[in-house]
Subunit: 128 residues, 2 copies
């Protein structure tokens, strides 16, 4: 497979796949003309990466998950720890956004949104 084919099948931009090779997540072979040549195993890895990234795992998490994915003698506890840590990060992020949402929605609700300058939103930003 050339990069275009694997990109389509993995659902990732070719550019991203080149980047993943750059940082050592995949190591496709090369054809005589210099083109990358991807095998089925590469496609599996890229699909795996796409899914992990879409769940918000960092590239470094993905690297670790991929290593475990390829390691037949892994302990599922190692995978679970990474996933739980990430879940905790997600929860913290949601909490942070919810707090923002809470504050901001109060301000928005208080603002008449007309052509007059008086504005509770600006007032809130000014005075905490």
């Amino acid at each position: 497979m050339n990069i275009g084919d694997v990109a389509e099948r993995a659902g990732l931009p070719a550019k991203t796949i080149r980047y993943y090779e750059d940082i050592g997540l995949v190591t496709p072979q090369r054809a005589a003309n210099g083109y990358r040549r991807f095998r089925e195993a590469d496609l599996h890895k890229l699909t795996f990466l796409g899914r992990a990234r879409s769940l918000g795992f960092s590239i470094e998490d993905c690297r670790a998950l991929l290593a475990l994915y390829e390691d037949d003698s892994r302990a599922s506890a190692d995978v679970k720890r990474i996933a739980e840590d990430h879940l905790a990060r997600i929860d913290r992020k949601i909490a942070e956004l919810s707090a923002m949402r809470e504050t901001l929605s109060h301000l928005v609700r208080a603002c008449s949104g007309d052509d007059k300058p008086d504005c509770p939103i600006l007032h809130g930003l000014e005075n905490g």
Copy 2:
């Protein structure tokens, strides 16, 4: 005020304040020795910026909000529109994270987390 004082009072790192000057959000005066000299109005702006940033507004939103803040003939509708747009972005982000959380927590719950290689998390990443 020197940058250290205004940094402390605004609750922002000095480095961030220099950056904000760099991108034109504040324009402190300069003393004869080259030090930045901040007035009370600068402090207000920086405090305003800190609050807006902590609510997740982008720098460009902050720039627009600051312009409205300084414009006595503003319409509160303009402020409200920016805030509502941002609120919608927050909601989308929360929804996205919640979806990740949902998927991931299912996988985590299904994983025994022991020393055996069998792992529903990896399986889920492999097969969608």
